[in-house]
C-alpha cells in the first residue's frame, strides 16, 4: 500500500486515487466515516418513514390478496438487500484477498451479520405472507430453498471468521468462503425462471419495467432505497468499532480516546 510519503518522489496522483489510498489508513477512515454516519442514519429513518406512510397509510390493498400485500414493503426490500449485501461482501472479499487491504477485509466481514439479518427478515416476512396467499408457510421450491442456502452461507462466513483466533487469517478464510458462495446469487435470482416454483416470477426488472401498480411500486422502491442507507450506516459503525478493537494498542486509538475524554 502506498503512503503519502511515496507521493513526493512520484508524479502527483489524481485526487480520486489519493482519496482511495487515504481511506485505507485506519485513523483517516475512522475520522472521515465518523463525520457522515449520523447523516446516513437520518436519511434512512426519513426515507423509511416516508415509504411506510405511503405504503401502509395512503396506499391501496391488492385486488386479489387484500391487505396482506402490504408485506411487500418489508419482504422485497429485505430480499434485494440480502442479495446486494452478499454481492458487495463477495466483491470486497475478492479485493481483500488479492490486495490484502485491512479495512476492506473488515468491511467485508462486517457485512455478513447485516446480510444475515436481512435474509432472516426476508424468509420470515415471506413465510407469513405465504400462509394467507399460497396456503402454506413453507415449501421446498427452488426460490425458497436457495434463499435459505444464502442464510447458511452468511452464517458460515460469520462462523468461520469467529472460529479462527488470528483476525487476519480468519478474514482470509472467511473471504474465500464468501467468494465461493457468490455462485448462489444468480441461482436465487433466476430460480423462478429456470424451474417451476410456487414463488411467482419477478415483478420488477431494471430494463423491462414493472408489473406492480405505481401506488404499490413507489413505496416499495423508496423502502428499498432507504434500506441501502441502513446497510451503509450499520456497516461503517461496525467497521469503526472493529478497527478500534484491532488497533487497541496503536497510537491513533489513544489519540481518539484522548479526544473523547479531555
Amino acid at each position: 500500500m502506498n503512503t503519502n510519503i511515496a507521493v513526493k518522489d512520484k508524479p502527483r496522483k489524481n485526487a480520486l486515487v489519493l482519496f482511495i489510498h487515504k481511506l485505507g489508513s485506519p485513523p483517516w477512515f475512522y475520522d472521515f466515516t465518523g463525520k457522515f454516519i449520523p447523516w446516513l442514519w437520518l436519511i434512512f429513518v426519513g426515507l423509511a418513514a416516508w415509504a411506510l406512510y405511503l405504503g401502509l397509510v395512503r396506499g391501496p390493498a391488492d385486488y386479489l390478496q387484500g391487505e396482506s400485500v402490504r408485506i411487500i414493503y418489508l419482504h422485497v426490500p429485505a430480499a434485494w438487500a440480502s442479495l446486494l449485501i452478499y454481492a458487495s461482501m463477495a466483491v470486497m472479499a475478492f479485493i481483500a484477498l488479492v490486495w490484502r487491504i485491512r479495512i476492506v477485509e473488515i468491511l467485508a466481514m462486517c457485512s455478513a451479520p447485516i446480510g444475515a439479518a436481512f435474509t432472516i427478515v426476508t424468509l420470515t416476512a415471506g413465510s407469513l405472507w405465504g400462509r394467507p396467499t399460497w396456503g402454506t408457510y413453507w415449501v421446498w421450491d427452488a426460490r425458497l430453498t436457495s434463499e435459505l442456502v444464502l442464510l447458511f452461507l452468511y452464517l458460515g462466513v460469520i462462523g468461520l471468521y469467529n472460529a479462527i483466533d488470528e483476525p487476519r487469517k480468519a478474514a482470509r478464510a472467511a473471504c474465500l468462503l464468501a467468494i465461493v458462495g457468490a455462485v448462489n446469487l444468480p441461482i436465487i435470482h433466476y430460480s423462478v425462471k429456470w424451474w417451476n416454483t410456487l414463488h411467482q416470477g419477478s415483478s420488477v426488472s431494471l430494463l423491462g419495467g414493472s408489473s406492480i401498480d405505481a401506488s404499490i411500486l413507489w413505496p416499495m422502491l423508496i423502502m428499498a432505497f432507504a434500506v441501502k442507507f441502513y446497510y451503509l450506516a450499520n456497516l461503517l459503525t461496525r467497521a469503526r468499532v472493529r478497527l478500534l478493537e484491532q488497533d487497541l494498542r496503536k497510537g491513533w486509538v489513544k489519540d481518539v480516546v484522548r479526544e473523547q475524554r479531555p
Binding site: Y63, V98, Q200
Partner: protein
C-alpha cells in the same frame, strides 16, 4: 500490480471458474428433480403411474369448480391450455383459490385419471394493483387474472 498480487488474482479467478462450472453441471443434472410441479402437458408427455405422489400445477379452468353438497369436497379442472386434468380435493382451500387462478396440488392419480389431491396451494402471478385499477382493466377488456400458471 506486483507479481504476488497477480498470482493471487489468477488463483482466485481459477477457483471462481471451477466452482462456477461445477455448480452449473450439478444444477443442469438436477434440473428434472428441481421442478416443483408438473403441468398437465408435462403429464401427457411423461405419464406418472397411478398412486405415485407428485405435484400438479396449472390454472383452475373457469366454470369447472363444483363443490360437494355435504362436506368440504371440491372438484375442479386444472389446465395449462392444451391439456387438462380433473382434480378432487377434500379440505379447506386457500383464500386465493378461485376460477382462473394458478394452483399447485399435491397428490396422486387414481386409476381413472382423476387426481386426488391431499393439499392445494394457490399460486399468484407477479401483478399487484389496487381493486379500482383491476376493475378498470376488466372493463376495458383486459383479463386481469391471466396468470400463465408459472
Amino acid at each position: 500490480m506486483t507479481p504476488t498480487r497477480k498470482r493471487r488474482l489468477i488463483a482466485l479467478l481459477l477457483i471462481l471458474a471451477g466452482v462456477g462450472v461445477a455448480s452449473t453441471v450439478a444444477f443442469y443434472s438436477l434440473q428434472e428433480n428441481l421442478l416443483y410441479f408438473q403441468s398437465p402437458s408435462d403429464l401427457a408427455m411423461q405419464p406418472i403411474p397411478p398412486g405415485r405422489q407428485f405435484r400438479l400445477g396449472g390454472l383452475v379452468k373457469p366454470g369447472s369448480v363444483t363443490r360437494a353438497q355435504d362436506g368440504l369436497g371440491t372438484r375442479f379442472v386444472v389446465t395449462d391450455g392444451p391439456k387438462e386434468v380433473e382434480v378432487e380435493y377434500v379440505g379447506i382451500l386457500p383464500d386465493l383459490f378461485r376460477e382462473g387462478q394458478g394452483v399447485i396440488a399435491r397428490g396422486a392419480l387414481d386409476g381413472n385419471g382423476l387426481f386426488e389431491a391431499s393439499e392445494v396451494l394457490a399460486k399468484h402471478d407477479e401483478n399487484y394493483m389496487p381493486p379500482e385499477v383491476a376493475e378498470a382493466l376488466e372493463e376495458s377488456g383486459h383479463t386481469v387474472r391471466s396468470s400463465d400458471g408459472r
